[in-house]
Symmetry: D2
């Protein structure tokens, strides 16, 4: 990614309109820095509040001109569609329940979409997004950002190249402690309390927040779908309204097995997303908290530690390394890699050209739908006492 394929194709950056993610939002900041990092987007418009004044002042803080700081999504879509220099694409980082209506409206109005995860709160909504994306031919990019890390791409490339052989086992876990403090009660009525209201955040908070990330990471690296699972979903903190724990045993297509475990209530743990994958020729391990190390255990040979841009890097990984080997990159770059890949796809669509095939590794609506199918299969199995449930 040393060149700027967007400038090459369009002669200008993609014009991006934001929905949600104002100045105080962590995820908003990540989307904005991802849009900025490679010079492939101009952020030109936004809806940051339903209050016009608040939207304008928030817009100014993040560099959106006052006349393009809207207070209603449909107004923005219409106005931007009408401008000659209007937005090409929208980035949705509103609460989960809005992902579906905004994404559908945006695509129907001709905008490519970058959408935060989880894609929706139901399978049906996800299916509709898949359908609209197919019908319109627009780009729909879902920001499962962990698939943007150079060594996650390296892991996938190694699996594809047969370096671990035939898949036998996968273990993925995502352990956080942000909801472990029992003195802080779930409160759907608090400021930003929507996460504690399942109507807004979806049927299972922990699965939506981090379970879909773990699930997508597993699919991304292995290239396999889960065929059936036995799960338990619930809460480990007494009195909790939402789910904070999910565990599952997995069967993957092709016969491999897997273990899946996520929680947001492991006291003191920051953000431990780990995956280990074994084939009949070797195993690999990646840990999000030290993303610049990929452990590789080839059968019968010394263990290796792979690094971004280090010896043995595959092209699919090298193209998302921004630094020379030994200089760490992190979450913002991984997020930006997703954005920049989507930018290449969007520019290709607009210009009627072909994107680099490796740019198409970003997660799409189909991946989001798979996440919803997984979520609901976990819930169903859990309700049925751990019964093995097909996806």
């Amino acid at each position: 990614m040393s060149l700027n394929p967007v400038i090459e194709k369009l002669g200008r950056p993609i014009r991006l309109a934001l929905i949600g993610g104002g100045p105080g939002s962590f995820i908003g900041r990540m989307h904005r820095s991802a849009a900025r990092l490679d010079g492939r987007y101009d952020m030109v418009a936004a809806v940051l509040s339903s209050n016009p004044e608040k939207s304008r002042s928030a817009g100014l803080e993040i560099g959106i001109p006052a006349d393009r700081a809207y207070s209603d999504v449909n107004d923005m879509l219409s106005a931007e569609a009408a401008r000659k220099d209007g937005a090409d694409a929208v980035a949705i980082m509103a609460p989960n329940l809005y992902h579906h209506p905004y994404a559908v409206a945006a695509m129907k109005a001709g905008f490519d979409v970058i959408c935060d995860k989880p894609i929706t709160n139901s399978i049906e909504d996800a299916e509709e997004i898949v359908k609209v994306a197919e019908e319109t031919g627009l780009v729909f990019c879902l920001t499962h950002n962990y698939s943007g890390y150079p060594l996650v791409r390296q892991a996938r490339a190694m699996v594809e190249a047969g370096e671990i052989g035939d898949l036998r086992l996968v273990q993925v876990e995502y352990v956080q402690g942000g909801k472990a403090d029992e003195s802080k009660k779930d409160d759907p009525t608090a400021h930003r309390g929507w996460k504690y209201d399942p109507e807004k955040s979806g049927p299972s908070l922990v699965l939506g927040d981090i379970g879909t990330h773990a699930h997508q990471l597993l699919r991304f690296i292995t290239g396999k779908e889960i065929s059936e699972l036995s799960a338990e979903v619930g809460s480990i903190v007494p009195g909790r309204i939402v789910h904070d724990f999910a565990g599952a045993m997995l069967h993957l297509e092709g016969g491999a097995r897997g273990m899946f475990w996520v929680t947001q209530a492991a006291a003191g743990i920051e953000n431990s997303l780990k995956i280990r994958i074994s084939g009949n020729k070797g195993s690999i391990e990646w840990w999000q908290e030290i993303p610049q190390r990929l452990n590789y255990y080839p059968l019968g040979q010394p263990a290796q530690v792979r690094t971004p841009n280090g010896p043995g890097t595959y092209p699919a990984s090298a193209r998302v390394c921004r630094v020379v080997a030994g200089h760490p990159e992190g979450f913002p770059e991984a997020f930006a890699n997703i954005y920049s890949d989507a930018a290449e796809a969007i520019a290709a669509r607009i210009s009627g050209t072909k994107p680099d095939s490796l740019a198409l590794w970003f997660p799409t609506a189909e991946d989001g739908l798979a996440g919803m199918q997984f979520t609901f299969a976990c819930l169903k199995s859990s309700e049925n006492g751990g019964e093995w449930t097909s996806l």
Copy 2:
């Protein structure tokens, strides 16, 4: 353990007779070095083969006098019981199917027993060992050696002291790669092939070999029993005769949940036994491959790395540290700690005195029985499609 309580109580080391574990056996070597390390045992007799000549020559290699190298267990028990300077205790490291008959015979003949794990191949046999141990009042020590590590004892002491608060979550995994090479077929008829014959090695190889270790580690540190589980047990290597994979979701008494995963077929992985335990005030993590580090995550405070004999060490841990802080210890010392604790208990029994209460942290017949109950509950749940099964 800087003094020698055995010499103090008995004026001499405990006399130990060995069953199995000859010169070429890894586990035999571990038992012998464990017996030697603290000067609490004299190894005085052994059955190392049913062939008298082989038993004698093997005995000589490991320092057993020719006249006490027997070729039959019952002969040894009788002869040693009759000698004035006869063995006090026997250590059993024969194939799994012999644990039960030899342990029962030894205790009925008045010998304390140190026995390799798994205790038996059935619940009924384990129950009988528990019963005989109770009736005879003899010491029965099961060598779940991981509970001998200084930082595993520290972890238990921290949990007991409330440093992680009320238990919420446990994850334990034991991942090995020794059975990953698919070019080596399971062969029950090969030399030392007994492991591949379920009649000899038990109903589930992976659960007997390492599952019971993981299960005991979980119980040892948390002090909680598993109340019910949903499991899958099987093989990930095509054509395998025995089990090489088991996964389970757990409910613990008191309401905590857990995840359990073991395999012996993760290519390239050596011996990765990991446990993570979260309470409502903090989490701890321990990894067998780097046993001199215990990660402690107190809620809302910086993460800590505890070391053997380092600041904050509890007496239960300090007493099994043989070195000053910063000098690593390993598997042989952990094994020796189990042996030396058992020695203290045996010497106390013989001398009619009391052992240090912290010496009684070694695993016993009850722990072995719990392991069998866990094993069979996993098998039952797996056969019933993951049905939640009480222990």
Copy 3:
């Protein structure tokens, strides 16, 4: 840094002109992404080649309009100074020998300067930059980017707060392997071969390339100057033209001692910059390759692992954390933190306001001068057989 103080103070981003660092340059890419990441700069002009056509086409690749892609630095300075919307500041990433003339010319023409390290190739040139910066009152920021890492700032804040007590010892090492391959000969005449010509790259390549980084890191965290040193500088690769190794023993003001070691010829090592600092109350360690961990060893207490934005984070560190705890950041963000701090200082100067005092932790001309003094003291000591040499 959640707000944009530049927009607040100026109503627009700072306009930045680039000197060097075209599309194929690693360090150029880092400067550009650093300028972009927080929306505090617009890159408006550049000199990317002395060939007008090449400068224009390179400019287009990185988003510089053709009419502001100059082929001569003085031309650019004049033209931009004359424009109403001309650049406010210049960023210099040309070969080392040009740092001094371009920086002086830029400041004399009224531009703030962001300059790559080492500041110059001589003490005299560095002194002149210090003088011109003082006289003009302009901002001069030297991109010793490691001081931009959140945990390096945390380390400094901890030292300032007395968490390690009185300084006793420092060890810093910067070990790379990029120049270890002996089959690749130093060639000053090759494309980009200027590094192998001491007239261009300075008196000691290894000290200029990485020694000044290590030296600045030591000074930044400890807040102490080196008073004298005994050093050896030279080459470990036979036939090498330039230096690839330097070692030194250090005396710091206040009585602490130190060890310093840098090389670019340690085969297979990527980029291992490590620092350990001990006071009479504790020690801290930081390693560039895993920058999201800061080891803290308080005397007599358990070791701690500090993380960005984790418990115990000081404000000076928190303000440069872009992510919630547990999500890694890397080199590009550290670089951007230097840029964004400089932006705040530049905006304050232009607007006649005060910057946040914590924004002034970026390295300046004085730091660059100290680096040159250190470099030449090392060379002098080495020439005099390791004689202790004052700085």
Copy 4:
């Protein structure tokens, strides 16, 4: 080491007499467990105090019969030499100043010697030990125990096999914090205060305690001698009587360079002995606190992590691995490896046979002499303002 070559050669273990290292001594405990672990020694006699009663009671605690618990070294040597079942060898763990007289007396009386480090307090004394060892043909083993670790032997074997190519660079550091607490003053008159009296502990405490370990480790792995050095030796804790810091820059025979740094006053650090060695084909790193990992960086290939008994293990390392790959060993086993190698050499001498050539990797009197030469060269260079000083 799966067999017992001592029993094979002698039909019995070596009879060992102890000098010093009573029940409360850490190093005494290490020597005793090292003697026990492989069944190659019987500890038959000891001098544990100059007070007969105290020597007897201390002897009983560690299993020495009362009639062979002496109170005078010469008495013991005479008495044991006269017994038919008298000791074969003596192990000296008395304060440093006694190493020389006891070692010389023991060898002159026909005993092989195992001696704690540093060998002596002067070059002359070390030279005499070398001479007496040569003249008598007896075994003199110096317990630089770090050379007993499986991965240290692996490192040496890899260097010998050319896996890192021609030596270019070495860095060794040994950092402890045991003498960092400034509230505890050096007191030569305290119980066990001999370390703070240079007449007893030698010319430089830090160099004798740990500097000679670091020096021996460097020589052991690289197979190279230091030809000259520039050093500084002194104290970083105000008011300290003895040395707690030494740094040196090194020239090795063959042209490689090195850095050396040791301290006992780095607050909070436990026992961090680290070595990194670079040749023109790769680098290796070993860290005592995690001794079961050896990092190997082959030039241009992915980094490797070597483990004891793991893939790629050389015979010289495999023979001192007691466990299967993945089970950690520690300091006691490393110490025991030195003892067991010495046992094989002693048994070979007594029996007039040849030991395994790999058993002769234990440190000898010549290594001790090299340590003294290094120590005094450091002191001389330091006194001469860092002047480069030949060894």
